[in-house]
């Protein structure tokens, strides 16, 4: 389909407008749509978006009306206060508010809920091993998905060795 505006490029943006029961259609190429200001340009910083989303959710989750008001025993922050600024009060909040935080964390990290990167060298051996296992399992998933069975077998052996060592 040709662009209605420049009658030159292919129309890739199709606009249907219904007002007062009257339906009109417009077919434009990207360039003409842009000229008419039809494409969204601004990128909202994630923080801002998050706090907008959070404050828009005025209804607390049905199953946790108390979670909104209950405060962290370590720093005193309530989940409601966190919603306002999207800033937590102390490291323990990740455990204290885990239930309420998890959907937000998943949302911001494309579904990611577990760390699989660097671990401080001072962390306990157990922690390091857990993180390593997580990373290996992720790699295994990718290897299987990509049908890279040789790499998958190697990864499976590595995971088994780590688990063996634990016993």
């Amino acid at each position: 389909m040709q662009c209605q505006c420049c009658k030159n490029n292919t129309a890739t943006i199709h606009l249907t407008e219904i007002s007062d029961g009257h339906r009109s259609e417009m077919h434009l190429c990207e360039l003409c749509a842009q000229k008419q200001g039809l494409t969204v340009k601004t990128q909202i910083p994630l923080n801002e978006l998050l706090s907008t989303l959070l404050s828009a959710q005025t209804q607390p989750q049905a199953d946790s009306p108390d979670a909104e008001k209950s405060s962290c025993p370590h720093c005193g922050i309530t989940f409601r206060e966190f919603r306002k600024k999207s800033l937590l009060g102390c490291p323990e909040d990740y455990d204290v508010f885990e239930q309420s935080l998890l959907p937000i964390i998943q949302n911001s990290h494309e579904g990611g809920t577990a760390h699989c990167g660097k671990v401080p060298s001072g962390a306990s051996g157990q922690t390091k091993k857990q993180t390593e296992l997580l990373a290996l399992r992720r790699e295994l998933k990718v290897a299987v998905r990509e049908e890279n069975y040789e790499a998958a077998a190697e990864l499976r052996d590595k995971i088994n060795r780590l688990l063996e060592a634990e016993k």
Partner: protein, 351 residues
């Protein structure tokens, strides 16, 4: 090292060298860290903030980075000094305008900074010219290890490095690449770049100027996901697929401009150099816009007698705080526009 010593030169990361330098100005990797046993900053009293500041300042100042470092107490610094640090990308705008005890440790050659008491207790970053994210990551990770020898970080096996905002939790890594994409814009393709970035969950911001608006076709592209992916994966994806693709598109758009619209290209670059060489009053926005065209003209070999380092130097030195600190006086906007035009004329008319 004093601030007035760095204000008259270009930052090393803006030197115009490094891989893919025609399109990639610079690379940066930042890590967010917090101390174990302390609350996050929003819940800290002034005295706790001072304690954190002193502890981290001592730890970072004692590092062996292969370069001297200096410290600037942001809460006590003059407004112009803070603005200078923001213009040089050594601190964030947030750090400049926040409240309470806070500061920054800077390596003399400006490849490294550590912001203390920004949104998190510690934000360390390494910059390099051109596309060198991998080197940035290796270096910042080593520095991170050295700091960790001296302090305990807030870390949890499930969520990784714990940060004040859950959007940074996990690796706490932010990789950023500064890009110059004038041809994509001229070809009307820049929206595609925005949309592609959005669909990959990447953030695009302007490199210069306030807020997110991009002036002069300079963009900063960064990751937003920090949990569930490793640092190596993020750096690898930027290095091996995302950035090479964008560079390829920009170069394609440049080639097409040369073939299809050479007159338009030469008109833009020649007008830019004409105005820059002759203007007597020039706002920072106009300067950025024209210098961007000039940079494109030089990189595309349509203008031969101006060098990229000279253009980059002008980008940096004609920003408001730089102008005022280097002239040694506070200037009103018109005064700045006059001085900016004067500096640009004198540099560009040498050739």
């Amino acid at each position: 090292m004093k601030l007035n010593e760095i204000s008259s030169r270009t930052s090393e990361w803006f030197g115009g060298s490094g891989p893919l330098a025609d399109v990639v100005i610079s690379s940066r990797v930042r890590l967010a860290r917090n101390l174990a046993g302390f609350q996050f900053l929003s819940r800290c009293s002034t005295s706790q903030k001072t304690q954190i500041l002193e502890k981290l300042k001592a730890a970072v100042m004692a590092l062996d980075l292969g370069d001297e470092v200096f410290y600037v107490g942001i809460d006590k610094a003059a407004v112009l000094d803070r603005d200078l640090l923001v213009e040089r990308h050594l601190i964030s705008r947030h750090h400049a305008h926040a409240k309470g005890p806070r500061g920054v440790v800077i390596a003399n050659r400006e490849f490294f900074t550590a912001m203390i008491n920004e949104e998190d207790h510690l934000r360390i970053q390494v910059f390099k010219a051109g596309m060198r994210l991998q080197e940035c990551w290796e270096q910042i990770s080593k520095i991170d290890d050295m700091i960790e020898q001296k302090v305990d970080y807030a870390f949890n096996p499930r969520y990784g490095y714990l940060t004040a905002c859950p959007t940074n939790v996990g690796t706490g890594i932010r990789v950023s690449v500064m890009l110059h994409l004038p041809a994509l814009r001229m070809a009307g393709q820049i929206e595609k770049f925005f949309n592609a970035a959005k669909s990959m969950n990447l953030a695009v911001r302007g490199l210069f100027g306030e807020g997110t608006e991009a002036i002069g076709d300079f963009y900063q592209l960064s990751n937003q996901v920090t949990l569930g992916v490793s640092e190596d994966e993020i750096v690898g994806e930027f290095t091996n697929s995302i950035i090479p693709k964008i560079v390829e598109y920009e170069n394609l758009a440049r080639d097409q401009l040369l073939v299809k619209q050479p007159d338009l290209l030469d008109d833009k670059t020649s007008r830019a150099i004409g105005l820059l060489r002759n203007a007597h009053l020039i706002s920072s926005q106009e300067a950025l816009f024209l210098l961007s065209h000039l940079r494109m003209g030089v990189n595309m070999k349509r203008i031969s007698n101006v060098s990229i380092p000279v253009i980059n130097e002008l980008f940096m030195l004609t920003q408001p705080a730089h102008l005022q600190l280097n002239s040694g006086k506070k200037l009103e906007p018109t005064g700045r526009d006059r001085l900016r035009a004067e500096i640009i004329r004198s540099r560009l008319n040498k050739y």
